[in-house]
């Protein structure tokens, strides 16, 4: 068990971070190259001002027509995105890892709160899953890739929760938890989770066209 633990927190972790950053960089670079050769008439209209204006509206809950018309999803989406970054970064156990491996230290979320927030993330994953199954409009457009993306995000939180509570065998669970986190990082550039790197550009483009050319709001 110890050897496996050493492996997943040691060499495999470094490999994961490398794959994550390299994957994101490669996807961004190749997409930019493709855009330069095929989407020049779109790139020509990109504007910092209107990109930021559009992003500012869409990162504000209920500031857009779409958010207002889907209140439950809006609350769930914002909470979910804040937590899936905040919890892994600021959890006490993780803060120790940041210090151990990267030599950076910052304040942590107290354990009981971290535990509670993890439950919130798990509940939100369940909400998204139920919505996929229950809402006919969402069910109709759901593909395998959407379930894969959800499962990839769900796994590290679920295993983390089980490990922290020591509900099943802790040693196995903590290894599964680390593996699940590593899978998520590696998968980000190659699955639906790639919206993490691309959404800022699609949003900016729409903001630029609507702001600079069409003189209309895109929210």
């Amino acid at each position: 068990m110890n050897t496996i633990y050493e492996f997943v927190t040691g060499p495999l972790a470094w490999l994961t971070w490398t794959a994550f950053f390299a994957g994101c960089a490669w996807r961004l670079a190749s997409m930019y190259k493709l855009a330069k050769s095929k989407d020049t008439s779109s790139i020509a209209f990109m504007s910092w001002k209107y990109s930021l204006r559009s992003i500012a509206h869409w990162v504000t809950p209920f500031a857009t027509l779409g958010w207002r018309k889907n209140p439950a999803l809006t609350v769930a989406t914002f909470l979910f995105h804040v937590l899936i970054f905040a919890v892994p970064i600021f959890l006490t156990a993780h803060v120790m890892l940041w210090d151990q491996f990267f030599g950076i230290s910052f304040p942590a979320i107290p354990d009981p709160i971290g535990d509670y927030l993890t439950i919130v993330v798990i509940a939100l994953c369940v909400f998204f899953a139920v919505r996929r199954l229950q809402d006919p409009n969402v069910r109709y457009i759901t593909k395998k890739a959407d379930w894969i993306a959800l499962a990839i995000v769900f796994a590290p939180f679920m295993t983390g929760f089980l490990a922290f509570r020591q509900i099943l065998d802790y040693d196995t669970m903590i290894i599964l938890h680390i593996l699940a986190g590593e899978i998520m990082l590696v998968a980000i550039p190659w699955t639906r989770l790639s919206h993490m790197v691309f959404a800022v550009f699609t949003r900016s483009y729409m903001g630029s066209e609507f702001g600079g050319v069409r003189h209309a709001r895109d929210w």
Partner: protein, 439 residues
């Protein structure tokens, strides 16, 4: 549930599909995807999170609340998704449904843009699908006829060269009784304004040319219309996916204005033509903007009002509601000027529909949908149910709609849902209410 459960017989689609083979489809689909699309389409299809937020954006979906195949993402799932998943290996019958969906169940109005957090442009995706259909030769017969007319005559309605000049002179003569000195100046070099219209105006809405000429005359504008092809600013080729022809049309239009050394082009009350000239056709021709300035009638009339060049003998009786044409509102942000102008013209209030300004609901005729003709009329009218409900809720009797296609669509909607409303162009109201000193 989906387009294949509601296929409609159309000669153009049927004949087109009958000529297809799976090999030809695969080759064409992949050629368009590889050569004509790039990062934009790739990222859209990869990062759409299938959240379904766009479902309630679309008037087709609002009008069919229990059928997810009418939602924006639902339309993509039935078209682009399948092509990408199967690498273009689909049967000819699939293309029939794909074409029917892309040409008749999406107005390219872009209302869904206001609903997508990621910023996916479903209108663009549907345009790509139409492009593939055009290249496969599978287009609805009626709209293809207008595209053929564009190719043969550079106007949409098979108006012959002599008929065009004749029609203008006929309108000029008609107007002599009311305005003894009124001219419709043809080919006047160096005029301030080059006025362009869509071909249905000389074909069957000549009163619009009459009214525009009367307004120009009363406002003392230095204007002209071209005697040669290039006068028609409309563009059904943009909607069929015939971008080569779209490019030729726009080039001809701009060059016709350039040849006359005019200061700018003013376009009649049309939405799609503005889209074509403003940010679609011009880009195909490699112009980031325009070789000469272009303004829509809304803005032009607004300027005349601001400068005191239109004097009213009376105001038009209100209250009215204002319909925002997608292509000049979501496409150009003219909704505020439109309202300022309407307030100037009417006596009474503007009663807004629940969705207005950039958030307007489309008339369901736009994007070439009405041009697909009678076979698809009932689908279109059924899709405008949510528009009809918003119109009805205003409780007014007059709709101001500065776009030809919107008029066509709204007329059908008003009739089918027994709304008992009249639909007015800005030109109708200005002409009716302005001072006519010589009369």
């Amino acid at each position: 549930m989906g387009i294949h459960d509601r296929l409609i017989e159309d000669v153009g689609l049927r004949r087109g599909v009958s000529r297809l083979t799976p090999e030809k489809i695969e080759k064409t689909v992949n050629a368009v995807l590889k050569n004509e699309t790039g990062a934009r389409l790739k990222v859209y299809s990869e990062t759409c999170m299938r959240c379904g937020m766009c479902a309630t954006a679309c008037h087709y979906a609002q009008s069919h609340p229990d059928d997810p195949s009418y939602t924006p993402a639902g339309k993509v799932r039935q078209t682009l998704d399948v092509l990408l998943d199967k690498g273009g290996k689909v049967e000819p019958d699939f293309i029939y449904g794909m074409a029917q969906l892309a040409y008749t169940e999406c107005n390219l109005c872009r209302r869904c843009v206001h609903y997508c957090p990621i910023g996916i442009d479903t209108g663009y995706i549907m345009t790509v699908i139409r492009r593939i259909c055009h290249k496969l030769g599978v287009t609805p017969q009626y709209i293809q006829d207008t595209a053929h007319s564009h190719s043969a005559t550079f106007n949409q309605m098979w108006v012959k060269d002599d008929e065009w000049a004749d029609t203008l002179q006929w309108q000029e003569e008609e107007a002599r009784e009311e305005f003894p000195n009124m001219r419709i100046p043809l080919d006047k070099e160096g005029a301030d304004i080059y006025y362009s219209v869509i071909a249905p105006e000389p074909k069957f809405r000549t009163q619009l040319i009459y009214q525009a000429a009367a307004i120009m005359h009363a406002a003392g504008v230095d204007w002209t219309m071209p005697a040669e092809p290039g006068w028609d600013n409309s563009d059904m080729c943009m909607f069929t996916g015939d971008f080569e022809m779209m490019g030729r049309l726009k080039r001809r239009h701009f060059e016709s204005a350039q040849k006359l050394k005019v200061k700018r082009i003013v376009m009649g009350e049309c939405g799609h033509a503005f889209r074509s000239i403003y940010d679609v056709g011009n880009r195909w021709d490699g112009w980031m903007w325009h070789p000469i300035p272009v303004v829509h009638s809304i803005e032009f009339f607004w300027e005349l009002m601001r400068d005191g060049k239109i004097k009213l003998a009376k105001k038009y009786p209100g209250p009215v509601t204002v319909h925002d044409p997608c292509n000049v509102v979501r496409g150009r942000g003219l909704h505020e000027k439109l309202r300022e102008l309407v307030r100037f013209l009417i006596d009474g209030d503007i009663v807004e529909m629940a969705s207005h300004g950039e958030h307007n609901i489309c008339c369901t005729a736009g994007g070439g949908v009405i041009n697909c003709g009678p076979p698809f009329k009932n689908v279109r009218v059924a899709g405008s149910k949510s528009k009809a409900e918003e119109l009805k809720a205003t409780g007014v009797k007059t709709i101001v709609a500065p776009c030809h296609n919107c008029h066509g669509g709204l007329e059908d909607t008003v009739h089918a849902y027994h709304l008992g409303m009249e639909i007015k162009f800005l030109g109708d109201i200005i002409y009716e209410c302005m001072e006519k000193p010589e009369a």
